[in-house]
């Protein structure tokens, strides 16, 4: 994880906004056109496009243009960065607890 701090920062920034989280949630059900997405949010299209661009620049979604329709696709791999980060935290504490138990149940330690 340590080699991806900038990407992770970007993912958290992108997910810090409720509109952008809602877009991620919506795209979890499948690719959707920008037009269809925008209709679900109470804001102007330019405002909504800013959110789309933030998600895209941080790698959480990809957009593909076909004719006049731009379609948004969730980039699941990017979200796994968050998983990896948390799994790392849990791993550190689990291993630490393993080592603590090993240490305190070591017969040599108990004699002291």
């Amino acid at each position: 994880m340590a080699q991806y701090p900038a990407q992770l920062d970007g993912v958290f920034v992108a997910l810090a906004d409720p509109t952008r989280r809602a877009v991620v949630r919506r795209l979890g059900h499948g690719p959707t056109s920008v037009g269809d997405l925008a209709r679900e949010f109470p804001m102007t299209l330019p405002s909504f496009m800013k959110h789309v661009r933030t998600l895209e620049s941080n790698g959480l979604i990809r957009t593909v243009k076909s004719g006049r329709v731009r379609t948004c696709v969730l980039n699941r791999e990017r979200l796994t960065l968050v998983d990896d980060w948390l799994a790392e935290q849990r791993r550190i504490w689990n291993e630490r607890t393993d080592r603590l138990e090993q240490f305190v149940t070591d017969p040599e330690e108990n004699r002291q």
């Binding site: 958290f12 980060w85 948390l86 935290q89 849990r90 607890t97 080592r99 603590l100 138990e101 149940t105």
Partner: protein, 156 residues
């Protein structure tokens, strides 16, 4: 414990509570298990009182020690509880620690087989915690994000 923000671990450690406490609070003992072997740990400061410093360093080669943890105790209850955070450093200066800011609470209780050892690590990122247990994620992600959004946005 806020399930959206925290990681919790629970373990029965097969040793008396006093032994576990000593492994935590004696620097020479803490050094034996705090970091994964073969890395070595050096405890610079272990000032066990609220506001006291908790500073450890780490070495991969046994010669050069680099900063590991620079934290501050928030609560220390003899044989019962240790709370520390790296969100402020050992001089009480606000910090942006790598890899993550956290508050860790270690709780010890007697158990017939030894010590009931519990850890709660509190984080500041709700998205991260919300996602944590949903590894297989499309629906899980959607559900927890929806719950999170409902709370944070005050709708639904």
């Amino acid at each position: 414990m806020n399930p959206d923000l925290d990681l919790a671990l629970e373990r029965i450690i097969h040793a008396p509570r006093a032994t576990v406490w000593r492994a935590w609070t004696d620097p020479s003992r803490l050094e034996q298990w705090w970091v994964p072997a073969p890395s070595r740990c050096r405890v610079d400061r272990l000032d066990l009182r609220p506001g006291g410093a908790f500073v450890t360093r780490l070495s991969d080669d046994g010669a050069e020690f680099v900063p590991h943890l620079d934290a501050c105790f928030l609560a220390v209850d003899e044989l019962e509880r240790i709370v520390f955070t790296n969100a402020i450093d050992s001089t009480w200066r606000p910090a942006s620690p790598a890899p993550v800011a956290m508050t860790a609470t270690i709780t010890l209780n007697d158990h017939p087989d030894g010590t009931d050892y519990r850890i709660v690590v509190r984080h500041g990122d709700p998205e991260a915690r919300a996602h944590h247990e949903k590894l297989g994620f499309a629906d899980g992600w959607g559900t927890v994000t929806a719950q999170l959004a409902a709370r944070t946005e005050g709708r639904q």
